[in-house]
């Protein structure tokens, strides 16, 4: 049986909203970085480092990382609960899906902690 325990949130509305808002944040980040790099073609390490040590930039990066994490969680969870099911893959699918869900959540959390460490670590 496909359950919802490992869903990002138990509410469909919240998942739906998070999916849309996170997409906007990621788009904004990609656009910003692209424009910045195009505007500064000969960027030096010092300049790049300075940009990324600004508080606003670090917050923006953190928000984007959180967006990638939540977006991936919701999206991959949907794919797994659509395709890795008993209906499509037979009786073993339930346990395979649960293992994949746990792995997915673990990888996402590790990346998130790692990103926080890069941005704010000492």
């Amino acid at each position: 049986m496909v359950g919802i325990a490992s869903s990002f949130s138990q509410s469909g509305v919240i998942n739906w909203l998070v999916q849309r808002v996170s997409a906007l944040v990621m788009t904004a980040y990609i656009v910003f970085i692209t424009v910045y790099l195009l505007a500064n073609p000969n960027i030096s390490y010092a300049q790049w480092s300075e940009l990324n040590s600004l508080l606003s930039m670090r917050l923006f990066s953190l928000l984007t990382m959180a967006s990638i994490a939540s977006h991936a969680w919701i999206g991959i969870w949907c794919v797994l609960t659509d395709y890795v099911t008993e209906r499509l893959l037979g009786p073993k699918a339930d346990i395979i899906r649960k293992v994949l869900q746990v792995c997915m959540i673990a990888v996402i959390l590790i990346y998130l902690v790692w990103a926080i460490d890069i941005l704010w670590g000492f």
Partner: protein, 234 residues
């Protein structure tokens, strides 16, 4: 002669489904697909399909016609025949009982879930519960659904999770009662829909809109439900 290929499966006799080919003489007429089935059934009485009204009202003869779900009785050959061949299969995604007849229990179970009846516990007025013409107009495009299942069985989200995703047909009906000014159970109805599956498995693929023989738009109704859920957090 028209080549007609029909999905056949009688679980009491056949090990697996197969396609049976017929040659059919249309005598130059643009018949409906159902007429072809009826005539072939005279030739081979073992062919099984559902039908009743033969005019697009009862919703019993939903089948997959040359790859697209529709009602056999109101689909003319001129729309259905591709390269002189007509291919008829049962609606996809639900278990086949025999030939073109599918088991619709799962589809009806989803319909039942949305409580497809008016809920209003205030004492009934002497004659009837009135609506303004504007309130009544909100039900247009919703009440016409004949539950043929063409939409839900064209929806990939319904194929993958038919026990959990209500499906386009059920959701169109859910909105039909959410939008009814006489129904007082709006909050209660919404609270039953805010899980990650019932409504939110719809990914806006719009297969449902493309096939509805009554020209209805379940995707739009689903959008309205989503907006109502957002405005009324449960």
């Amino acid at each position: 002669m028209l080549n007609v290929s029909i999905y056949r499966y009688n679980p009491e006799v056949d090990n697996e489904p197969y396609m049976q080919d017929f040659q059919f003489d249309t005598q130059g007429k643009d018949l409906m697909v159902l007429d072809v089935l009826e005539k072939l059934k005279i030739e081979d009485p073992s062919l099984v399909f559902r039908r009743s009204c033969r005019e697009g009202v009862c919703g019993s003869d939903g089948v997959n016609i040359s790859g697209k779900n529709g009602l056999a009785c109101i689909t003319p050959l001129s729309e259905a025949v591709k390269g002189n061949s007509l291919i008829i299969r049962p609606l996809p995604g639900l278990p086949v009982i025999r030939d073109l007849v599918i088991d619709m229990s799962q589809f009806y179970a989803q319909y039942e879930k949305i409580q497809p009846y008016m809920i209003n516990n205030s004492p009934a007025p002497a004659i009837e519960r009135l609506q303004t013409p504007e309130e009544r107009a909100k039900l247009d495009g919703l009440y016409e659904c004949i539950l043929c299942a063409c939409c839900s069985t064209a929806c990939p989200s319904f194929w993958w999770n038919p026990e959990k995703f209500i499906g386009p047909s059920g959701l169109l009906q859910a909105y039909r009662f959410l939008a009814d000014s006489r129904d007082t159970a709006t909050a209660e109805r919404l609270s039953k829909l805010d899980d990650p599956f019932s409504v939110f498995r719809c990914h806006g693929i719009m297969n449902c809109v493309q096939v509805c023989p009554k020209g209805l738009n379940p995707t739009k109704a689903i959008g309205h439900i989503r907006n109502m859920l957002m405005r009324n957090p449960t």
